[in-house]
């Protein structure tokens, strides 16, 4: 090892908490990655705590400070200060890399005592090879230093089918990360994604977005309810696509209300919502408060109508045609195939972005529910017929995930499709990419099933604890590390990476600048 590159030396500690003395003139940071060369292998270690060390007793130091401060002695200094005072760093081993075959293993031993350590370089990270069909999430980060040559790619099929969690508070770069991930998903047709975009921020309706990906024309589908930009699709879902079970776990209907809904479906089938909305409960002879002959009290019917009207923003015109104010739901002939089309696109490995910004919370989840239910069913059928292997893995990107997989939702209502996918989707190559500020309200069983977590900065201790407790690697010493993550900095913990990787997510704008399409200004012949 080049003496100049040495940053510290092992001086003590125990496994998982090794103490090194920092070499004078170097400036170690929390999260710095360093390397301890061993025989035939090297250890990658990470700084998780920094403190001062000194050969002079504390009281003596305090007295010297008093002389310095109170008596105005300006030229007082330590004799050979670099030897006497220093920084001690506490580090933990992350991985052992065998030089012969670049094999990475979880370390089970300590670095040699008194071994000199250096900071990690790109050459040490050659094992981070991009494999076929993987997803780029960022560059390895050592403290705040970014090693741009060390790109972190995650195996797409594995990480998406085993669910991904992106926990972070506002302003830490969630949407930048999601866009970065989707950008590389767009490179191939190996992953199909349904993105419920509650803020209409991914496609780039105005400004930079996924639409600038070179393969966007083939692989990106954008559905929006209002004046779609050129080439985009109108998000219209026919009311015929909605079945009573789609409301389960999404909307708070009482048992009698659900019964009324199911009865309406049995009676009218396809046009049940339209017919139900057009039914005059009193005229239909439902005044009685009893439920004779399978009929429901007028009050129940009216509550159901009101809830549906609010949920789906339904109104009826003078000709009795039911329509939705935000134009997403239609009772006539529009949007009859939207759900099927979207599912087909996902099955073809495309990214489908739904602009749900005009929908209320429940309506957004309902739209996702209808599509996700059909998608899961198709993948289940594919498994039954032995065709699942050929299908791309599918993921459903959902923001504020506790709305559907939060403890209170799952205990107070029936399971919804999202929780079903979280629990059993893996078997059918369908996964969730859940984004949340509140990991602590997601049940542990579901959190544990989310086998890849890309942890962005989070100042809430309770949330950090929930994430740390369910991480795929031991992050028990990383509480401060997570708290101090700056915008765009993250830690990837996953059963598909050899150790919890500190990363820096590039700015999406920079990716687009480097790899995005330029407008085609070539002359075109028109016949």
């Amino acid at each position: 090892m080049n003496e100049i590159s040495v940053v510290g030396q092992v001086v003590g500690g125990s496994f998982g908490d090794i103490v090194i003395r920092q070499k004078a003139g170097t400036d170690l940071e929390i999260g710095d990655l360093m390397v301890s060369e061993e025989n035939g292998s090297f250890l990658i270690l990470q700084v998780f705590s920094l403190e001062f060390g000194s050969q002079i007793q504390d009281k003596m130091q305090q007295m010297m400070s008093g002389v310095n401060l109170e008596q105005g002695v300006v030229d007082a200094h330590f004799y050979e200060p670099d030897f006497v005072n220093y920084v001690l760093a506490r580090i933990k081993p992350l991985a052992r890399v065998y030089k012969e075959n670049n094999e990475v293993k979880i370390p089970k031993s300590m670095p040699s005592f008194f071994n000199k350590l250096r900071l990690i370089t790109k050459d040490d990270l050659e094992f981070l090879q991009k494999e076929k069909d993987s997803v780029f999430v960022g560059y390895i980060r050592s403290g705040s230093k970014v090693i741009k040559e060390a790109e972190v790619w995650l195996p797409a099929e594995d990480v998406f089918s085993h669910h991904m969690l992106i926990p972070a508070t506002t302003g830490r770069g969630k949407s930048n990360l999601v866009k970065t991930i989707l950008w590389s998903v767009l490179d191939t047709n190996k992953v199909g994604a349904l993105v419920l975009d509650a803020h209409d921020e991914y496609f780039g309706r105005v400004g930079i977005g996924l639409k600038l990906h070179p393969r966007a024309k083939d692989n990106l589908m954008y559905y929006t309810p209002s004046s779609p930009p050129v080439g985009a699709n109108r998000l219209t879902i026919n009311l015929q696509s909605i079945r009573p079970e789609h409301f389960e776990g999404i909307v708070d209907f009482s048992d009698p209300q659900f019964q009324a809904i199911r009865m309406a479906y049995r009676q009218s089938r396809k046009n049940w919502i339209r017919d139900l909305m057009l039914t005059d409960a009193v005229d239909a002879g439902m005044e009685s408060s009893t439920q004779a002959r399978g009929e429901f009290a007028a009050a129940t019917m009216m509550v159901v109508q009101r809830k549906l009207r609010l949920l789906l923003s339904l109104e009826k015109d003078e000709e009795g045609v039911v329509f939705s104010r935000h134009e997403v739901f239609d009772s006539t002939t529009k949007g009859l195939t939207t759900v099927d089309d979207i599912v087909k696109d996902i099955e073809a490995g495309k990214v489908v972005v739904l602009d749900t910004s005009r929908l209320g919370d429940e309506a957004e989840l309902l739209v996702g529910n209808i599509i996700a239910a059909k998608l899961l069913q198709k993948y289940k059928d594919a498994k039954a017929s032995g065709e699942l292997q050929r299908k791309p893995v599918a993921t459903i990107v959902i923001e504020e995930a506790p709305r559907v997989i939060g403890v209170d939702v799952l205990t107070s209502r029936n399971d919804n499709i999202y929780s079903t996918i979280a629990k059993e989707g893996r078997k059918f190559k369908v996964g969730l990419t859940a984004i949340t500020q509140l990991s602590s309200v997601i049940p542990k069983t579901i959190l544990a099933n989310m086998n890849t977590k890309i942890i962005l900065g989070n100042e809430m201790k309770q949330e950090r604890e929930a994430i740390i407790a369910s991480a795929s690697q031991d992050l028990s010493e990383d509480d401060k590390n997570i708290a101090s993550l700056d915008k765009g900095e993250a830690i990837v913990t996953s059963i598909f990476v050899p150790f919890a990787m500190p990363i820096k997510i590039p700015l999406f704008e920079d990716i687009v600048k480097e790899k995005g399409v330029t407008p085609d200004n070539s002359k075109t012949k028109v016949f």
Binding site: S227, R234, L336, T337, D341, K525
Partner: protein, 419 residues
């Protein structure tokens, strides 16, 4: 004032003489209707002909009828469809345009910055502004729409019509309608009427920014499936639009073509013999005289080959009884015993080899060269040869014997061996 809108006539598609006759009759009847109803102009957004240069028989009757419409002082405005399109103006559409019977409405300018602008043509009698874009195969026309100078078109005042040829995904009513669909948002907004072609069923819808997007559908049949739809009650015809300074009404005018009978047999979990029996029974129940008969057999047989379902006897019987034509669809018929097992591979070649190897064991032939490894090789060679497309400028009557001779050579048999 009024105009007529028809599309996807696919003249020259029908191969059977009796269907050719209906194809012609329907076409002539529609244009006669246009004359007798004194329409101000006619719109045909593509696929008027099934190919760019149809046989002389078709050209003759088409020219005659177009001349009649022309003589009646009714202009016909068209764009190419994906079938009658020619990039080098080598289509009978161009010939008709050259003699002045029809007018191509696409007047484009390609600018240096890549943008395409379209000039509106103005119908001299009504002052209606008309423009449009042709349809190309596999959605290659999408680029035109993406580069279209929409602002200038949207700024045009007055009643304006846009002709286009292509499926609009927003208007799909059936998820089985796959293929090249484009979103409505690709079309410029603000036209009074969007005259569509390509979709073979009548469809009229309006959307925010797009009023009256209309497909009249094919007036008879341009795909084989159209006949089946006709037999199942699909109405065929054209669209008649009344207008002043706005569109006042859009009406579908039905033109009857012929009578149909459908024989459907569900072969699921049955033996070929029982399917054959049901086919015979159902044939007995109908009067096929002067009708198009659609026979549809679908499902999975428990035993036997799909070839054991004897359709030739049915066909003969129906033909003898005076049917116009018998269309038999067996492509959804499967057999459990002879089902194709799928196989994996890293590339196309490997997948083909593995699929053949996986399935060849089911075959029972005396000729050993058709079985085992040798059989797989032979099957692959045949597949490759049969997958050869028609060469540029190669005529069908050159293409068929070329492929046939190559296939016979691969099989090592002479053309005369079967006789």
């Amino acid at each position: 004032m009024k105009f007529a809108h028809l599309s996807d006539v696919h003249l020259g598609f029908q191969k059977h003489e009796s269907l050719q006759k209906i194809e012609r009759q329907v076409f002539e009847k529609i244009l006669d209707e246009c004359i007798s109803r004194k329409v101000d102009f006619v719109l045909i957004p593509g696929d008027l002909f099934h190919v760019n240069i149809p046989e002389m028989r078709v050209q003759k009757f088409a020219f005659a009828k177009f001349r009649a419409v022309h003589d009646a002082g009714i202009p016909i405005y068209v764009v190419y469809g994906s079938h009658d399109f020619s990039p080098v103006s080598n289509s009978v559409i161009d010939l008709l345009s050259e003699v002045g019977y029809i007018t191509k409405v696409t007047i484009p300018t390609s600018h240096e910055d890549g943008q395409i602008s379209l000039k509106c043509l103005i119908d001299p009698k009504t002052g209606v502004k008309i423009t449009g874009l042709s349809g190309l195969k596999v959605g290659k026309d999408r680029e035109w729409y993406e580069k279209l100078d929409r602002d200038s078109l949207e700024a045009e005042q007055g009643l304006k019509i846009f002709l286009f040829h292509g499926g609009i995904s927003d208007m799909k009513t059936d998820s089985g309608m796959d293929g090249d669909q484009m979103p409505l948002s690709l079309l410029p907004q603000g036209f009074s009427y969007y005259a569509g072609g390509h979709m073979h069923k009548f469809n009229h819808q309006s959307f925010d920014g797009y009023s009256n997007v209309v497909y009249p559908g094919t007036p008879f049949a341009g795909y084989h499936a159209d006949l089946e739809d006709n037999a199942n009650g699909q109405k065929r015809g054209f669209v008649l639009v009344e207008f002043e300074d706005i569109i006042k009404s859009v009406d579908f005018v039905e033109i009857e073509n012929t009578e149909y009978e459908v024989i459907e047999v569900d072969a699921n979990n049955r033996k070929a013999e029982s399917v054959n029996q049901e086919l015979l029974d159902k044939t007995r129940d109908i009067d096929p005289t002067d009708k198009v008969i659609i026979v549809k057999i679908a499902g999975e047989l428990t035993t036997g080959k799909t070839a054991d379902v004897d359709v030739s006897a049915i066909r003969d019987k129906l033909n003898d009884a005076g049917s116009l034509v018998v269309n038999i669809s067996k492509n959804q018929l499967r057999s459990k015993e002879y089902s194709i097992t799928e196989a994996k591979g890293d590339n196309k070649d490997e997948i083909e080899t593995n699929v053949f190897a996986e399935n060849i064991g089911q075959l029972r032939f005396e000729q050993q060269e058709l079985l085992g490894e040798q059989g797989v090789k032979l099957a692959k060679k045949l597949l490759q040869e049969l997958g050869q497309g028609q060469l540029v400028n190669e005529k069908k009557n050159e293409y068929i014997p070329r492929v046939r001779d190559s296939v016979l050579a691969i099989l090592g048999v002479n053309k005369d061996d079967s006789q």
